[in-house]
């Protein structure tokens, strides 16, 4: 007896969930309550236990698929159970004729389609519908295709999920791209599309050690990162300002601290400098959250710094709270705790939100400069790069100093250019003359 397990609404009015992980394979035997899969919805992430005993006959979705509530997620071939009255209705796959499987009630005496005619008529209709449905394109793209006289069903789409883009249409119109002339893969439009070019009987290719291409789903954290990066790029008006900072003085301080038993990186110094500058009234708008829908900018009272951190799962931004009120020593301790937790994949969820400004640092791999993407709803982000000894002109002499570029991206909707520039300069001043940093250190 096949039992079709439909995704339940596991959270009051949830309409879909992302299947994040299968916990059983096809063919596996499951008992009641055996964990089947993990699902992530808007409200909860949950492990779904099996309601039945039997063998997993089919998994209908893959990891990363978004499953609508009510859709059949997996079929369990029940073992031992006598078919119940409710479950004994003939199922679709028991029907032999392909047409009949689309007719809901198999026993209905007045089927609207005569079986004989159905077989011949239905096929082309289906093919046409499919051809139309398969073309994914925005209305503007379709309009463009019509105006250029391009048959959009014959254009190979290069966008998401094979979506036909405006460029695809223009290229097809110009006949520039060989792809444009080829039929859309798997679209049943053979009758109208030019035949696919026959495979060239090429000379045997020398075997290489390359394996097959590897396709992976964008799951969980990766998907979240993608969405957030895209959203930031789509909404904020990024501008990036770069300047070079002299770290020679900080470097000396760092060595002194090390000799006194406090091992630290440059980051806590930068954090303190940033916090001090952000607390100045003229830079309050940089320590802020923007809500464009509500049309508001919330200048935050405290400075809570997001520290972009690489983890095995992907980029996370744990938050160090209240940087404005913490000592350098405290920051050193907290940063190392964050790093440990990140390595162990044990960052508490609560530590991942609430930042008011973000610092991203690639350490030794920091390169020269970059164009960091703002961690919304914040309005600015500071990128730190490689510190190295560089020749610098001081007075009329060339001397060797420890130098680093800082790249700071701002949301130009909120932050004017001169404010952003002044901010970076203010941070630079504190870092180059740590005495000034000390004056405001808390």
């Amino acid at each position: 007896m096949a039992f079709e397990f439909k995704l339940p609404d596991i959270g009051e009015g949830v309409v879909e969930g992302e299947l994040t992980k299968w916990l059983v394979d096809e063919g596996a035997e499951v008992a009641e309550d055996t964990p089947l899969f993990e699902v992530l919805t808007d409200k909860v992430s949950a492990v779904i236990p099996s309601p039945r005993r039997g063998r997993v006959a089919k998994r209908h979705f893959g990891e990363g698929d978004v499953v609508p509530v009510g859709a059949v997620v997996l079929t369990i071939e029940e073992s031992g159970a006598a078919p119940t009255a409710a479950a004994s209705a003939p199922t679709a796959h028991a029907q032999a004729a392909p047409i009949a499987s689309y007719v809901a009630a198999p026993a209905a005496p007045v089927a609207p389609v005569a079986p004989a005619a159905g077989a011949t008529i239905a096929a082309p209709v289906t093919a046409l519908t499919q051809a139309n449905e398969r073309v994914r394109a925005a209305p503007a793209t379709r309009k463009l295709a019509r105006s250029l006289g391009v048959d959009i069903t014959r254009v190979a789409g290069t966008g998401d999920h094979g979506r036909v883009t405006q460029e695809d249409v223009t290229r097809a119109h110009a006949g520039a791209s060989p792809a444009a002339a080829a039929p859309r893969a798997s679209a049943p439009t053979a009758a109208v599309a030019p035949p696919r070019a026959p495979a060239t009987p090429a000379a045997p290719v020398a075997p290489t050690a390359l394996g097959a291409d590897e396709v992976t789903k964008l799951l969980g954290l990766r998907r979240k990162i993608s969405e957030r990066m895209r959203h930031s790029r789509d909404t904020a008006a990024h501008f990036t300002y770069v300047d070079e900072v002299d770290f020679t003085a900080i470097s000396a301080l760092k060595d002194q601290l090390r000799d006194a038993g406090l091992r630290t990186t440059y980051l806590p110094f930068v954090m303190k400098a940033v916090a001090i500058v952000l607390q100045r009234p003229e830079f309050h708008s940089l320590n802020a959250h923007v809500d464009y829908q509500a049309g508001t900018l919330t200048k935050k009272a405290g400075v809570h710094l997001g520290i972009a951190t690489a983890t095995d799962a992907g980029l996370l931004v744990p938050v160090v709270q209240d940087v404005h009120g913490k000592s350098l020593r405290t920051l050193v301790g907290e940063l190392s705790a964050v790093a440990d937790a990140a390595r162990a994949n044990a960052l508490p969820v609560a530590s991942l939100s609430g930042s008011t400004f973000t610092i991203t640092s690639l350490g030794k791999a920091g390169g020269m400069f970059a164009t960091p993407i703002i961690n919304q709803p914040e309005v600015a982000i500071l990128g730190l790069h490689k510190i190295e000894k560089r020749p610098v002109v001081v007075g009329d002499a060339i001397v060797i100093r420890e130098r680093m570029y800082m790249s700071c991206s701002f949301d130009h909707r909120i932050i004017d250019g001169h404010i952003g520039a002044a901010f970076v300069q203010a941070v630079r001043e504190l870092l180059e003359a740590p005495a000034l940093l000390l004056a405001d250190l808390r």
Binding site: V44, S45, A46, S50, A350, S351
Partner: protein, 378 residues
């Protein structure tokens, strides 16, 4: 007019049993028969088994919704035990134990969750909104706080009638910041109603932590403002809860008026099946709270008395599991309530409009092309 001496507000938490299972107040223990304590413990263990099963049922798509009381069992079983069967109880959604302890049949509770034809409220309520009239437990309302003025009014009515019963209501600390809390407590204070306002302070109102719902360090302090008695109690200590409710009931029966009890506890589980606490609190915090879990604490004491052991624990869990699975199997086999009852119970007699709608439905059902079945069914 000179104000009379206000009743005391005690914010040092009442505690009888320490977290390590040792006793602070041996005198109190003497007032509770040991066999009762073992029964209470077994009932709380069973409750946890039921909760666990119901969450699985919901994840399997067999229940629309569920809400567990994991970690807060003492706050239901303690008061139910401390009170008399003729005392009225107005629970929130997190205290099925108050009715189950009074003999509300497990089967009826499950019939309600499933919403079948034997559900006393005929499948019209969301799961968890059960009704146990025979146990003097008033139906659960979804809007939080509704039960507080209801309890105050019932207590006042009983006093007017000369009954010596009391009324108790249960609510969360989040709910204590709702307007109904003020209405109920203020009225009960003025009327010296024999009411007990039992606030389960479990730290959260869904995802909102305590500090974001109120600036007072103790909910019980609010009793001062109403001129009523206040008492903080360790809500993870079954004995302390029993003691606090007994004292409040005696105070009320003696005509001195209501008590606001604040039981400090922790919601170890999610708010409900629609909630995921991973999004708003840390694993460390949960682990810390789990160390205060009322069940292991009581078990330690019972074991020290030779009243409990691992075998009894296993047996209790197995029996509870068997009982709940059997009740669920029966509940799922029962048909839905008949569709034709849809028009009953709001008015004593159907209004003409309802009557017309009932006739229309009957005609539709008998026309043969209806997707529904008049007699109920699956």
């Amino acid at each position: 007019m000179a104000a009379s001496q206000p009743p005391p507000v005690e914010i040092a938490p009442l505690r009888v049993l320490r977290a390590d299972g040792t006793i602070l107040d041996p005198e109190f223990i003497d007032s509770v028969p040991a066999s009762d304590i073992a029964r209470l413990y077994a009932a709380m263990v069973a409750q946890r088994v039921y909760d666990d099963r119901m969450i699985k049922m919901q994840r399997q798509g067999r229940l629309g919704f569920y809400l567990a009381c994991t970690g807060e069992e003492a706050c239901a079983y303690g008061p139910a035990y401390a009170l008399r069967d003729d005392d009225w109880m107005f629970p929130a959604y997190r205290e099925p134990g108050v009715a189950l302890w009074r003999g509300f049949p497990l089967q009826t509770w499950v019939d309600n969750l499933v919403g079948n034809c034997d559900d006393p409220v005929k499948g019209r309520q969301m799961p968890v909104h059960w009704s146990a009239r025979a146990q003097n437990v008033v139906s659960i309302s979804s809007p939080v706080g509704t039960q507080i003025p209801q309890c105050a009014g019932t207590a006042y009515a009983m006093r007017q009638r000369g009954d010596d019963a009391v009324a108790i209501c249960f609510f969360g600390e989040g709910t204590s910041s709702e307007g109904d809390f003020h209405v109920g407590l203020n009225f009960a204070g003025v009327a010296k109603a024999p009411a007990i306002f039992f606030c389960r302070n479990n730290g959260y109102a869904i995802s909102t932590p305590y500090e974001k719902t109120t600036a007072t360090p103790h909910i019980a302090l609010r009793a001062l403002g109403y001129g009523i008695r206040g008492q903080v109690v360790d809500g993870n200590d079954l004995f302390a809860v029993i003691k606090a409710v007994r004292e409040a009931a005696a105070f009320a029966r003696a005509g001195h008026g209501p008590t606001l009890i604040e039981a400090k506890t922790y919601r170890l589980a999610a708010h409900s099946t629609s909630d995921d606490p991973k999004a708003y609190r840390s694993r460390e915090e949960e682990a810390e709270a789990a160390a205060q879990d009322p069940l292991p604490r009581l078990r330690r004491w019972l074991e020290a008395q030779g009243l409990w052991d691992e075998a009894r624990e296993q047996q209790t869990q197995a029996e509870a599991s068997e009982a709940i699975l059997a009740a669920l199997a029966r509940a799922e086999a029962k048909p839905h309530p008949p569709l034709t009852t849809l028009f009953d119970d709001v008015f004593a007699a159907r209004t003409p409009l309802l009557e017309a709608q009932a006739l229309e439905l009957a005609a539709h059902l008998s026309s043969g092309d209806s997707a529904y079945r008049a007699s109920g069914g699956h």
